[in-house]
Amino acid sequence: MSGKTIIAALLLLSAPVLASDFVVHVHGLVCSFCAHGVSKNVSKLPFIDQSKYTKGVKVEIENQKLTIAVSPDRDLDIPALFEAITSGGYDPVDIWTVTAAGELDELVEYKP
């Protein structure tokens, strides 16, 4: 089996998982110690795949991004997600799907 084949197989295997990742832009998310409550609240949501990142959540303070992993067999509940962020002390702005390469893909339409 060639190296290219192995890489292709790995990409195929990982594609469904990556497709269930979402990125939330969060105003003011500049300190992960301060954002511990956001991580805690979000990771407790039933649709979060806790096997990825840190209990399903990754905080990137440089660009105020919150990446979440959603379990493949569960539906993303955006109102619950945004409420978890708000009660964590921050203000969610929008939510995006993520490509296999980890880049922002499509803005998820959401009307509160």
């Binding site: 003011g28 500049v30 992960s32 110690f33 805690k40 990754k58 990137e60 009660s87 964590g88």
Partner: protein, 287 residues
């Protein structure tokens, strides 16, 4: 004799950090809570008259170690409740009847309760908040003996603070005032106000495990009104400015903070032992 009486009356002001940012950064989440253990040491054997250091024939000195157990509960991001319980171990040499007399006391000090009201503004890569914090100091410390822990008074304080943070910069400004009540045995510490400034960088952060470092610079200015002359605990009034570095390390919900406050300026009313520089080390957990 007059000098002895004067020296007997004075020593440095009791530790009374008036502001209440028990872990100002966190918890900002609803139903969050946290604990912090903070060890503070200050003291000096420099005798001051006004802003000058003078001869100290009686070896006047005072050193104070305080262990603060601090707790915070956040109802939601706009309202917290804080409690600070000090355990004080203090020793001094006081001039009594023309000779230096060594004294020591220790015990639980006055408990401080605070109610920080915060208004946050999160915008893009900036988060900032204004806070107003009424506080009350409960006379739980012993006011007995020649070197009491507390003057036995109920005191009220008010702090107004503003902090602003970006991924790289952190600033905190805290203006506070304590109104001292009348204590037991005629003792009464003077009212005081102060300004604390923390500014600095957030030079390192690891997104993978939520750990990082803050390197800050602290400037603390404080004014104490003269205490009641019968006060056995506190010094003369005066002004002082302390400044120094602060290092904060955090990982997930754990925080450690080391701080050095070097005495940059001091002026005492009359003659008093200098407060000296201050060193503190704190460990906190939030949940």
């Amino acid at each position: 004799m007059r000098l002895s009486i004067t020296l007997f009356i004075l020593i440095v002001a009791a530790p009374a950090n008036a502001h209440q940012p028990v872990m100002d950064m966190a918890p900002r989440w609803a139903d969050g809570y946290g604990f912090q253990l903070r060890q503070v040491h200050f003291g000096s054997n420099d005798l001051m008259r006004g802003s000058d250091s003078i001869d100290n024939p009686f070896g006047i000195e005072r050193f104070v170690d305080t262990t603060w157990l601090e707790g915070v509960y956040t109802f939601d991001r706009s309202l917290r409740m804080t409690i600070k319980v000090p355990y004080i171990n203090q020793r001094r040499v006081a001039a009594i009847n023309g000779m230096g007399v060594r004294q020591q006391s220790s015990g639980i000090g006055d408990v401080v309760l605070g109610l920080p009201f915060k208004r946050y503004k999160n915008q893009g890569a900036t988060t900032q908040n204004w806070a107003i914090t009424p506080s009350i100091r409960i006379p739980t410390g012993s006011s007995s003996g020649d070197f009491p822990i507390s003057d036995g008074s109920w005191d009220v304080g008010l702090s107004i603070s503003h902090s602003r943070e970006t991924p790289r910069l952190y600033q905190l400004y805290d203006l506070y005032y304590w109104n001292q009540g009348s204590g037991k045995r005629g003792m009464r510490t003077g009212n005081s106000w102060g300004l604390d400034i923390n500014v600095g960088l957030h030079p390192w952060h690891n997104n993978e495990n939520n750990s990082g470092v803050f390197t800050l610079w602290d400037i603390s200015a404080r004014h104490d009104e003269a205490p009641n002359a019968q006060n056995l605990t506190t010094a003369s009034g005066g002004d002082r400015v302390q400044t120094g570095p602060v290092l904060v390390y955090y990982r997930q919900n754990f925080m450690a903070r080391a701080e050095i406050k070097l005495l940059a300026y001091e002026r005492v009313d009359g003659t008093s032992a200098s407060r000296g520089s201050e060193y503190s080390l704190a460990f906190g957990l939030t949940f």
